[in-house]
């Protein structure tokens, strides 16, 4: 057996079934080993697609996503996807080929220091200089990627190490370490905070689904009756239609959510990190609230907002120890009134397609198999604001890094990881062009991914900000010379159709949801449509702009 065969054997031992990748010179020994393996290799058309598909696979399944690329440009093309996984705490193992060790440091063909380049955006990384290290490094990589706060791990494999002979075998994973809950004293202090609160708010983040604590969180919401606001990645921690859910907070959050946080006397932060898109101007965020911060990552507690009490360790165990507050009926009623008063409206004038209404209707008419992936921009915010989301792992969105081009490869990974899901990628005319080549991957594997392309012929979110905050000076946002996206899709062998008017939406949604195979709906929307409401940059969440 050579090193490459041992690497593939380690992947099989870790339970990996699917890997996403693209072959090339230095990684050829690994591809030769894949030829005989039980692993399903998904050939993408750009290495960034491999990393983002592995990311989507991991988010949808909770398993470690695996991507493979060659040295040099293969590795650098992975970087955005690795950074995306790092920003959103997604478990991933990225394997890169490297030039042979005697050539390293000589500027040889397709040599780049990917170990160094990725250092700020990985949870950990390894440079394999000895074939004897392969079993240990592979086992550690999977353990590190998945344990605690997950993240990407890079393994750089020089070609001569991959070709070296060995008689070693993969290491088996040991028993999974049980994560303890917080200490009793901290739990007691947390309980005192909750019991003393009269206006508590649960601030739910993506850490809930990562910690597999969705059920425990929902039980606590039912027990406590505390109103819930969520981050972008926390959407679905309770179903968005739940009576206690006030929606997303922050820059494009709901008025009810932001008002509740600003009025709260206790903020129970569960698996969230006070990100600037959620908090607005930090020193004006939840100004009257004490903070109970629950997180698996000790470095997040107190990073941006001091916590009165921090609860580390297992989220489910800690949530189960929290008491219900007392005497919050008036507060619940106030939150409910705000929610009703500021609920979304879908009666936009005109006959053109109103994107929020289309997205709302799509999510209402879909069944429980719906899994949404988003790209980045206005459409991403409309999905967050208007779609019914049943669970965080049914809404895959690039939250931390905001990676245009995420949606399509993430949909590929999610569809392969959850074959029974109805995967719908909501994208924009800017975003889809970032990874449009992955339409070929959808066709090659005949994946039934549905694509809703909201086309406003511009970079809508940038245009909106230029209109609002740069005196309307629209700089380099015009995309009116877009290709004909229907013909683009059809040239890849994917059926596609246009939606130009509101009276076509009902039929379009039925076609999207009932197609057996992939389909692309090219939806023309108003180029002047904006995302509302909006907290202007640098302002507190009390300052929300709305449509004039």
């Amino acid at each position: 057996m050579n090193g490459a065969q041992l690497i593939v054997a380690c992947l099989e031992t870790e339970g990996t079934e699917i890997v996403f990748g693209y072959p090339g010179g230095a990684i050829m020994p690994v591809y030769d080993a894949l030829y005989d393996s039980s692993l399903k290799h998904v050939l993408v058309r750009h290495e960034q697609g491999a990393a983002l598909a592995a990311d989507g696979f991991a988010r949808a399944t909770g398993k470690v996503g695996v991507c493979i690329a060659t040295s040099g440009p293969g590795g650098t093309n992975l970087v955005t996807g690795i950074a995306n996984a790092f920003a959103d705490s997604v478990p991933m193992v990225a394997i890169t080929g490297q030039v042979a060790t005697p050539l390293m440091g000589t500027d040889s063909f397709q040599e780049v220091d990917i170990f160094g380049i990725t250092m700020p955006v990985v949870k950990h990384s390894f440079l394999l200089r000895d074939v004897a290290d392969i079993p240990r490094v592979m086992r550690e990589a999977f353990r590190i990627a998945a344990e605690g706060r997950p993240g990407p791990v890079l393994i750089d494999v020089p070609k001569d190490v991959a070709a070296a002979q060995t008689d070693l075998h993969p290491l088996l994973a040991g028993p999974q370490q049980q994560v303890a809950g917080a200490d009793a004293a901290s739990i007691r202090k947390a309980g005192e905070l909750v019991r003393a609160a009269r206006r508590p708010v649960l601030y739910a983040g993506g850490g809930i689904v990562i910690a597999q604590a969705v059920e425990a969180f929902r039980q606590y919401v039912e027990l406590s009756g505390i109103p819930v606001v969520t981050t972008l990645k926390g959407l679905g921690s309770v179903p968005t239609r739940h009576e206690r859910c006030l929606g997303m907070l922050g820059m494009h959050g709901t008025r009810a959510a932001n008002q509740a946080v600003q009025d709260a006397d206790l903020l129970v932060c569960v698996g969230a990190r006070f990100d600037d898109r959620a908090t607005g101007k930090l020193d004006g965020f939840a100004p009257k609230a004490k903070v109970l911060h629950m997180d698996a990552d000790p470095s997040e507690v107190g990073k941006l907002r001091a916590a009165d009490v921090g609860l580390l360790g297992d989220l489910s165990k800690n949530l189960a120890q929290l008491p219900a507050p007392v005497d919050i009926e008036a507060w619940q009623a106030q939150c409910e009134r705000d929610k009703v008063e500021h609920q979304n409206r879908y009666d936009a004038p005109g006959t053109g397609v109103y994107a929020p209404a289309l997205l709302r209707q799509l999510s209402e008419e879909a069944d429980e198999r719906l899994l949404l992936t988003c790209d980045v921009g206005q459409h991403q915010m409309w999905v967050a604001q208007h779609c019914e989301i049943s669970s965080p792992d049914r809404h895959l969105t690039s939250g931390g890094l905001g990676t245009m081009g995420f949606g399509l490869p993430a949909a590929i990974g999610a569809q392969l990881g959850t074959p029974d899901a109805c995967v719908v990628c909501v994208t924009g005319d800017g975003s889809i062009m970032m990874n449009v080549q992955e339409l070929a991957t959808i066709k090659r594997y005949n994946l039934p991914v549905k694509i809703v392309l909201l086309d406003n012929s511009c970079l809508g979110m940038v245009r909106q900000w230029q209109d609002l905050f740069f005196d309307g000076r629209q700089s380099e946002v015009d995309l009116s010379d877009n290709p004909d996206f229907v013909r683009v899709a059809e040239s890849f062998g994917i059926p596609a159709f246009r939606v130009d008017r509101r009276d076509q939406v009902d039929d379009a949604i039925q076609t999207i949801l009932n197609s057996d195979g992939p389909v692309l709906a090219h939806v023309q929307i108003d180029p002047a449509a904006n995302v509302w409401p909006l907290v202007p940059p640098g302002m507190t969440n009390s300052t929300m702009m709305d449509e004039a």
């Binding site: 170990f115 950990h124 000790p298 470095s299 990073k303 580390l312």
Partner: protein
């Protein structure tokens, strides 16, 4: 504000650059770096003077502690008062 940190580091490839990169990326300036390897046992001791006007040294210690090559982080506050961060703890 200047702080002195002492780290116990596993001498894996990239460990030192990973630590120094994190310190600067998290908003601290490096004023001094000393490394010694008292024994040939795969570990080295590292002492850093780091400077920041507004960032929390407690948070930086926890961020350093998360690195897999770092086994201990110690904040040298004075000769008599030392704060040790054990792996995985909040300050």
């Amino acid at each position: 504000m200047k702080y002195t940190l002492r780290l116990s580091v596993h001498t894996a490839e990239g460990a030192i650059i990973r630590i120094l990169g994190l310190v600067e990326r998290r908003g601290f300036a490096l004023a001094r770096v000393d490394t010694t390897s008292p024994e040939d046992n795969g570990h080295l001791d590292m002492e850093l003077d780091v400077v920041s006007a507004e960032r929390s040294i407690d948070v930086l210690m926890r961020q350093l502690d998360k690195l897999f090559d770092v086994s201990h982080v110690l904040h040298l506050q004075s000769d008599t008062r030392r704060l040790v961060l054990k792996k995985g703890e909040a300050c």
